[in-house]
Symmetry: C2
Subunit: 304 residues, 2 copies
């Protein structure tokens, strides 16, 4: 049976009907294979983003290591707040200040060293509430959806607001998504020759904008080159990406994950990080008629 | 038979032996599937770039249309040189000045309009010497090589110095390469809503650096996310990309196309556009021991 972890209901029906009418031969709403592109946000859409983004945990763990050998670091107010696990206090110093600390933490590493650090961290990390590794935080119903799309010749991309180099070393194993099919925020790298070999070294500077809001649309153009017909997100930062799929000339499927299950996961509205005043995504979804996926009622199982 | 348009010789043998020793199970030089990434330059490596880049022809045709309704345009010195087909005279005004004219030509178009313009142009274009459409300018031996690599689970990417949005509408049909597997120079786009639909509009500003030299390496990291093990190019602008593959920790295959066949194609050394003083790629290839592909002797057939 398709989508076994989805309960019968409006969301499951909308997905199955969409795939049926766009991929059955010769239907009036048929979508050619080359336009079957699906884009998924990551944090809160494919894996759990509470109590904090996994990438934030990764960086805080790094700061803790650095502070152990450089005690002065822990006295910087933003770092102190992050080490205390108080993200609200940290962001009280401004998003710019937090971003600077976060980007500084791995500056100077080669891209290979960074990928190895991510992989090592993912092996050790355990979620504070669920006591599982990152694999245990992936939403089983979304894995089923990605597989179902692939089996109908859709190409599946992840378009995350998080760091592309953080997610890539994990995405193949967790989601079956190749590194080149992960789009995200990036840092500038410098080109160097060391001991005769070319390496790329991470700087503390973001390359372009954080990948949220309208930049997600430009990034999809730059990286995928095809307007998606399927898009899934969970926050106001995904609005433009969903709207990009919605306003193309092909039939589209736009999904918004509603975190309404405090017992099995969390309950919170999905806000944009870079624009706290953006329209709530639930309101946007209702206005456009997008399909809302309620975790509590639409998913019979949340995690593996 | 593999590579039927390749003559027996050092290049064909190097390719076949490389694929054999890296993809046969359990060999000491085995390359895991996830690292089987091959990158190909486009102009002069996959299709003929003489007497001028196809993209230059595309843009000059556009300038000709624009000059027909705006005669003042044809009086601008760079435009006049381009319309006269005198690229040397045009570049005499400086690469910056030429680039500005080239980028201006399609500024203001939506990305969808631009893709349609490329497709329409490619239908009409005929090569001045060979009287063929772009398909007739593709090197048959290189198509065979890409297919052979794919049949051994290599993923094939094009990393062109030319415009990514110019090549994408053609690459699936000509090379079997999806839009998201084409990496190239790009222009900045602006995000707009028109009649309720999101569109992206081309500006006259380049996004980052032209994709030649070291920027090809950064672009491969940003877009592919895996260090390639196979790389092919034909000019000094491909040196860093080839060197990136060469200096990884896996066995690599670096190919340099030598244009030495004036009868069937052209004879010229491959120079970098952005760095005319760069070491000739033939000298670099010899120093690193890369495989040189001589069109005259290594290819039994050049075009389809």
């Amino acid at each position: 049976m398709s989508l076994p972890s989805w309960n019968d209901g409006a969301a499951r029906t909308a997905i199955l009907e969409y795939i049926e009418r766009t991929t059955s031969a010769d239907g009036p709403e048929h979508v050619p294979v080359e336009e079957r592109v699906a884009v998924f946000d990551n944090d809160g859409t494919l894996w759990c983003e509470r109590p904090t983004y996994l990438q934030a945990s990764f960086i805080v763990d790094r700061l803790r290591e650095q502070a152990a050998v450089d005690p002065g670091l822990a006295e910087e107010p933003v770092v102190a707040a992050l080490l205390a696990g108080d993200l609200a206090a940290a962001t009280g110093y401004g998003l710019e200040a937090v971003l600077e600390v976060l980007l500084d933490a791995h500056a100077g590493m080669t891209t290979d060293e960074f990928a190895a650090a991510v992989a090592a961290w993912a092996t050790d990390f355990r979620h504070p509430r669920f006591a599982v590794a990152p694999r245990g935080l992936v939403y089983t119903p979304m894995l089923e959806l990605m597989d179902l799309l692939r089996s109908h010749a859709f190409r599946v991309f992840i378009v995350t607001g998080g760091g592309v180099d953080f997610l890539r070393p994990l995405a193949a194993d967790l989601y079956g998504v190749c590194p080149d099919d992960v789009v995200g925020s990036a840092v500038e790298v410098t080109f160097e020759r060391r001991d005769g070999a070319i390496v790329l070294v991470r700087t503390a500077a973001l390359s372009g904008s954080p990948n949220e809001g309208a930049p997600k649309v430009s990034a999809i153009h730059a990286r995928v080159g095809v307007r998606p017909v399927v898009a899934a997100g969970n926050s106001a930062g995904d609005r433009e990406m969903l709207e990009f799929a919605h306003t193309g000339h092909r039939p589209s499927l736009c999904l918004v994950i509603d975190h309404d299950d405090p017992d099995r996961e969390y309950a919170y509205p999905g806000a944009a990080l870079t624009d706290p005043h953006a329209e709530p995504i639930a309101a946007t979804a209702e206005r456009f008629g997008w399909t809302v996926v309620h975790i509590r009622s639409d998913w019979s199982r949340v995690f593996a």
